[in-house]
């Protein structure tokens, strides 16, 4: 399972501890996170399920390429890191 970590800034709004989640792509991993943390979805994704404009998601050191469908692949030993972009504050 991938390790999923979130910017500490999200903790101002809701609990989002570091966790492990299965999935072979970013969408699948996050869907599994949302299954147990449903409020988190609207903080990261817009109404159409795209990554919000001022949210950034990395797999290890790589910024994800597909912000609409979140199809970037994820392996079991990867870390998915979600943080707020420096734009948009």
């Amino acid at each position: 399972m991938a390790r999923v970590a979130f910017t500490a800034n999200l903790e101002r709004h809701l609990a989002c501890p570091v966790q492990s989640a299965p999935g072979d792509c970013v969408r699948a991993v996050l869907d599994n996170v949302f299954a147990t943390h449903p409020r988190l979805r609207s903080y990261l994704l817009d109404d159409q399920g795209r990554v919000r404009r001022h949210v950034s998601i990395y797999v290890n050191a790589d910024h994800i390429a597909d912000r609409d469908r979140l199809s970037d692949p994820v392996n079991d030993d990867d870390e998915v890191f979600v943080f707020q972009a420096l734009s948009g504050g």
Partner: protein
């Protein structure tokens, strides 16, 4: 006479209360978070606060204990696979449904859409008939990148009769609770539009639309290029040319019981959005726009660059208390219908909305 104000700002919510005749900031909530709109439902006391989080999107908070504690509830959202991929970016207005519709809340958003909750905000549905009017494709941003539903007027006589103002997209009316809509901009004009489109609904930038609660056929619109008044329920509009010192502005409030009385806060014009001569004034008519008083007592009269956004001027149920918050963080209250003003706060974040409750 209301003794409480809620102020939504770029950096939080401020709860202002009057005790022993003095208005003070009694509480601060959501410090650091932009608050775009507030509503206190007079039918049950529930408070709603809309957030526009810079990174994490639109959120909606609800309080059932007079603002002491807040609970996040679902925010309006477009259905998945909405054809043009829309996503709510801003809650622009919140209004209650009719007296006989407990829990009904109407919400106007950017992009320009209308949502309805029938259960105190637990669930929301897009008003598809308005979203699907062909003219919506030609609505434009007015101060924001996309068009927004900035005003919702629910007729106190008939809650199925609703008039909304779109910035930029005109005035729209439903007589059947939102099942069908028609544009109603007869008499309005857009100086900035191509000549052939001067009177087209989609060109009318209705910054703010308000209704006299006890005479709902009287409506006032602060439009991008002027002020308009209707006395026939928005079926036709008269150009108000008497307003001083300028006809540009964002905010307007209507007296709760006198259809001839309304207040505006003029600015120079669209390409120079500051008070005329750097002197902040409120323009008040008490004779149905035949004339205006220019009210200055207590307001800064030199080097004042405060702008009052469209939802940042408020009037209480009595029609004697007014409050306004500015883009530079000032808050003024009048306890005599605008004749004089007292500065209550001077270092707030930029103010988006002010509401008595």
């Amino acid at each position: 006479m209301n003794d409480r104000l809620l102020i939504g700002t770029r950096k939080g919510l401020f709860d202002i209360r009057r005790t022993r005749g003095t208005w003070t900031i009694a509480a601060t909530r959501f410090l650091g978070d932009p608050i775009s709109m507030l509503l206190t439902d007079p039918r049950d006391g529930t408070c709603y606060a809309a957030q526009a989080l810079g990174h994490f999107g639109v959120k909606l908070q609800r309080s059932r204990d007079d603002g002491e504690t807040w609970q996040e509830i679902p925010a309006p959202a477009f259905p998945k696979d909405t054809p043009d991929g829309s996503s709510v970016s801003y809650i622009f207005c919140l209004e209650t449904g009719g007296a006989e519709q407990p829990g009904w809340i109407w919400c106007g958003t950017i992009p320009g859409a209308l949502f309805l909750s029938r259960d105190h905000g637990e669930t929301w549905s897009l008003n598809e008939p308005l979203w699907n009017v062909p003219e919506r494709k030609e609505w434009m941003g007015g101060g924001f990148d996309q068009a927004g539903v900035a005003s919702i007027c629910v007729d106190p006589r008939n809650a199925g009769h609703i008039t909304v103002g779109v910035s930029t997209g005109g005035v729209w009316i439903t007589d059947d609770g939102g099942k069908s809509w028609r544009a109603s901009v007869d008499g309005m004009y857009a100086e900035y539009a191509p000549p052939q489109l001067r009177h087209a609904p989609q060109m009318q930038d209705v910054h703010r639309l308000v209704q006299c609660p006890s005479a709902p056929d009287t409506m006032w619109a602060q439009h991008h290029n002027g002020v308009f008044r209707s006395t026939d329920g928005a079926r036709s509009w008269q150009d108000v040319t008497t307003i001083r010192p300028a006809k540009f502005g964002f905010a307007v409030v209507a007296h709760p019981s006198d259809p001839d009385t309304a207040w505006f806060v003029p600015g120079v014009k669209d390409e120079c959005r500051v008070p005329v001569d750097a002197s902040l004034v409120v323009a008040r008519t008490r004779d149905g726009a035949r004339s205006f008083d220019v009210l200055t007592n207590g307001l800064p009269q030199s080097h004042a660059y405060d702008l009052i956004y469209r939802h940042a001027l408020a009037i209480d149920d009595s029609g004697t208390h007014l409050a306004m918050g500015s883009t530079t963080g000032h808050l003024w209250i009048s306890q005599n219908a605008g004749d004089s003003w007292t500065q209550v706060a001077g270092y707030l974040p930029p103010v988006a909305c002010v509401r008595f409750c």
